[in-house]
Symmetry: C2
Subunit: 235 residues, 2 copies
């Protein structure tokens, strides 16, 4: 199909498609003449994925290119699928104001966590560095409460990871589908999990801090420890 | 203190401090003459926080300004502290290529999830919209496996949220400290949780897919369902 139809089929504007072609997010189409090329189904699929990783997943163009290149690489073992997802760890700037001692304490904390969880991991995973930097920055800001509950956050992450691996297992048999499932589930999944966390926070805070039962909250479905029955205005 | 000392104390370069002042991330210092101003402890604290939210938390300058303004606002009830954290939901571009029907199905799925979890939430939370958009985009990409396990991801998020509320509860009594704990724990916590998820994925995938026990893996600490004992080379 021509670029106009590719745009129509995917809902991605022609200008954006040209930008992605220039940036190497999409391979060039098959040339059919001066300034003319045709594109296939594979282009449409990859274009949809690129667009979603960037807009909804929040990846930079450079990070999206790295992910798409890894997906297109010929060696796609299960472990490679994982490695692809790992390239999508947010590559943040280090905060240079954080003192080296705080970083060393955080690195030790991460090593201890990994040992306590019984995780067997290759050394120098980017995610371990990100976790270390983040904990060091929290300490620098005077926040010790997150690190104090790191085992609870890790336990929740194990539940997430078990579901993630089940997602990938569903398409076992196709290394390509496994890698793509891992990438979409991890990158877009991060956005979904951040949203779920905020919804759950809202409900957890309401249960803990709701100042009083409100109109209509009289069915007792929901524990409100702070609320005495007498506080509720009569309906 | 002068701007030079503020820079020395916080490790943030003078040029960055001036940029944050121009962008309204920091309130102006107290003027002591033409082009001279002095800064207090509050500036140092806010500067460290701004820097961390942007570099490690990955917030845009505009998003960081919104968070810092909300933290500095005089009304800081518990619920307001929550609302501040909610402003930090990744504000992604919507993917316009996702068909309206997919969005409606996703919205229905989110409503059903909220009902099933028993979450009592105010209407139109930004996080609910983010979750809806993300699920719709996944469906558009042909990924149904994440949505099929949404209850498991929600259950994990409840564990995270319970720990989050415990973090905030630790500083109960100071509305200011509660709000700041919520912001740091949520924004930097998202980065930490994304990293923990990848570490846990790595271990979960190893347990599921490890092709064979490797040298030294003979202590039997760790179940490797796919590995027969005979596969391990003699040490």
């Amino acid at each position: 199909m021509r670029i106009g139809e590719l745009s129509h089929r995917t809902g991605v504007p022609v200008a954006t498609i040209k930008y992605y072609l220039r940036e190497g997010l999409l391979p060039p189409g098959e040339a059919t003449g001066r300034n003319q090329a045709v594109y296939g189904e594979d282009h449409a699929r990859r274009l949809r994925l690129a667009r979603a990783l960037i807009t909804v997943g929040g990846l930079s163009v450079a990070a999206a290119r790295e992910v798409l290149e890894a997906l297109a690489a010929p060696d796609r073992s299960t472990y490679n699928a994982l490695a692809v997802a790992h390239t999508t760890v947010t590559r943040h700037e280090r905060d240079p104001a954080v003192p080296e001692e705080a970083r060393e304490r955080a690195a030790e904390r991460v090593r201890r966590l990994i040992a306590e969880q019984g995780w067997q991991l290759p050394p120098d995973l980017p995610a371990a560095r990100t976790l270390t930097d983040t904990l060091a920055t929290m300490e620098h800001l005077g926040n010790h409460s997150f690190a104090a509950r790191l085992d609870r956050f890790a336990a929740a992450s194990e539940l997430v990871a078990a579901a993630d691996v089940d997602c990938v297992d569903e398409v076992r048999g196709s290394a390509e589908a496994m890698a793509e499932t891992m990438v979409v589930g991890t990158v877009l999944g991060d956005a979904a999990l951040a949203a779920l966390r905020r919804l759950a926070q809202q409900d957890a805070a309401r249960r803990r801090y709701a100042p009083a039962a409100r109109d209509g909250d009289t069915d007792g479905d929901c524990p409100q420890p702070g609320a005495a029955a007498g506080d509720a205005p009569a309906g």
